[in-house]
Symmetry: C3
Subunit: 310 residues, 3 copies
Amino acid sequence: MRITGTFIDEISHDIPHQNWGREEWAKDFAHMKAMGIDTVILIRSGYRRFITYPSVYLKNKFGCYEPPIDLVELYLELADEHDMKFYFGLYDSGHYWDTGNLQHEIDANRYVIDEVWARYGHHKSFGGWYLSMEISRRTKGATEAFNTLGLQCKGVSNGLPTFISPWIDGKKAVMAAEATLTKENAVSLKEHEDEWSEIFAGLKGSIDAVAFQDGHVDYHELQDFFEVNKKMADKFGLQCWTNAESFDRDMPIKFLPIKFEKLRLKLEAARKAGYDKAITFEFSHFMSPQSAYLQAQHLYNRYQEYAKTL
Amino acid sequence: MRITGTFIDEISHDIPHQNWGREEWAKDFAHMKAMGIDTVILIRSGYRRFITYPSVYLKNKFGCYEPPIDLVELYLELADEHDMKFYFGLYDSGHYWDTGNLQHEIDANRYVIDEVWARYGHHKSFGGWYLSMEISRRTKGATEAFNTLGLQCKGVSNGLPTFISPWIDGKKAVMAAEATLTKENAVSLKEHEDEWSEIFAGLKGSIDAVAFQDGHVDYHELQDFFEVNKKMADKFGLQCWTNAESFDRDMPIKFLPIKFEKLRLKLEAARKAGYDKAITFEFSHFMSPQSAYLQAQHLYNRYQEYAKTL
Amino acid sequence: MRITGTFIDEISHDIPHQNWGREEWAKDFAHMKAMGIDTVILIRSGYRRFITYPSVYLKNKFGCYEPPIDLVELYLELADEHDMKFYFGLYDSGHYWDTGNLQHEIDANRYVIDEVWARYGHHKSFGGWYLSMEISRRTKGATEAFNTLGLQCKGVSNGLPTFISPWIDGKKAVMAAEATLTKENAVSLKEHEDEWSEIFAGLKGSIDAVAFQDGHVDYHELQDFFEVNKKMADKFGLQCWTNAESFDRDMPIKFLPIKFEKLRLKLEAARKAGYDKAITFEFSHFMSPQSAYLQAQHLYNRYQEYAKTL
């Protein structure tokens, strides 16, 4: 299964910054294109006080810092040039991480969506919206948040597609800042299906695709979870994408590029389950030939060898 | 003291993968050769479901994944070419790490040893066996496991040599996934000697060399432990090697290349104690000029300068 | 605000070593010079048993290891060549970290100061002394230690300047070896001012400059703390420098180069507060074009672009 999309991890939660300027980003889009990527997704347009574009609203409302460069404009220009689709990731105030309450995110993004569409909607590459709340099964109010924000995104943009990328609450679902790599109380396949079916059943045409993160269950459990995800997606009229993580969750250094064999196992499981599309988190640190992590360029080569066999 | 051997860390427990292909491995063996390495040791032929060669037995018995490349064949070909000795590291099912019980490893490896010798024994570089259980002083059944497996290895291969590489239960003997760097209840020199003498006394010609890992005690304690190790090795008819760790255990990032001064201290202590051979864990991440960790190429240069003075 | 000084992190507590030799250090001083650096500060001349120069006193007294190279001589030669000022960082026996008691450091450094001045004081670049105890507000005996050692440094060297670089006990004041990134009980602005005013009030002309580390409070808190620091420095007749940390304290990997936007926020806050000088911890790992962390070369480029606008 080919990877045709990637997140762009600006602003990052937990991956150290590469400090690229315009020149390096231009090169990276060319590298992406050479790997077959047609979709780039801004992971989030801001996180707490750090933002990717000079939002008047966010600076006034949350005291966000003036960014040194308008990354949204830069990415849209590069996506225009390379004939890619750009998905805009919503703002993350941090309030949900602190309190578990999504209302803050809903309120802030009502303004952000309007502001962003007015400012950048004219780009031909502006192709959709990413609802950036990384929720799992137990998030209260997830369905309502998806509906409110997803429908607003579609409303302002003549129905451009939306997607979400939740995680499976498996044994590797631990925070990056935690010292451990796994936890005891992992979700069962049955619970996963029940709880996500309930969330999906409440959607009112607000979400077009779901891209579960693929890194939280063990490799031999992937096939079962993927089959269930595809079954649910079909039942509720969603496209089924995989978010193929290209970093390694099994190592003490959090995080470096994944072993290619693991990535291949995950892509193969998605292919067998009949998934519609594979995107990755993310190309620029973990698969790019110019990544600061030199393992990434070798992962790129191994992936390209594999892609030729498909 | 010159380093003349290195582990090859495939499959890795805790060191992120470099994603090298055939070309990079070929270059690395040339780099090893240039540093004076005549012995390469596969750290383990598999760990849980990940394996280095397409073992019919392991795929059927443990559901191991089909590896993307036959690394054992590749390493043997490269060792043939460079006139090196290749030691095969036994399979690690993970059961011992989970339960402390070695029986699983004994049972699984009875088959692996036969399979591997039949498949790869014809290579001129196939030079020995590495019993990959990383045990310490308190492992129950260690002696019996060494005898059973070591004698079987020798039996199938016309007596090729075997070795083990246990750790000293010193103050830095903590797991890679733990947040701390040291622990309180370190072994005393006396306990170390008593307990390992008991293990070694039970060996029945099954083991030819012991290569204690050198990274778990403080630098000023090394000489005493090394003298004891040499005394025990002489007494029980073993060759005394040092496993000179080339990664740094004293840093929050687990793990990057060691400071050269520390490596030199450890090698000098082994030399003074009259050790027979120095091997390292391991060249490709921590000392190779092409390592993804650029500190490694400088460590290589510092080591080469030092080696010229010997 | 331009960065005109950098620490040199030899011997390191918690940053993995790059294993540079004479050639790499010579290149790095040239890179520093190109960025406008006129001051290099040896972070410490030794830590426990590892030392930067072959000190007869430290080898005899503390069993320190013979260093493979005389780094103090090397740095002084390079600083001479590039017309920079070199500050010598005092020895750290580790006793203070273990016990909280500074007496050991005072006693050891009485000898070190004499030995070092006799040995290296003739270099034209020998420009001052760095009192390397990284104390915070609650360190008992800090004032006395500063007075004793600072006055001795000045005494032997015809009054060369001295400085200290304490930390603000903010929410990010956690140890590198801890798994967490923040703590609950951060100091208030008022407590910070009260406690440091008390320390500064006791100084008897022993210290010329204070360079608070800038990485322990949140970015939006910086301006307030910096204003207070400047006010205190003015009141007590000290120069007010900022120690602009160029590594990122907000990431699980401890530590990689900082996101440029964060460094800019910190430098701008120092500029607005009217600080006298900016130094960084530290150039060679986190900002150098030849750093093993490739993010550093991009940080260097981003900083250089910024510096052109000043």
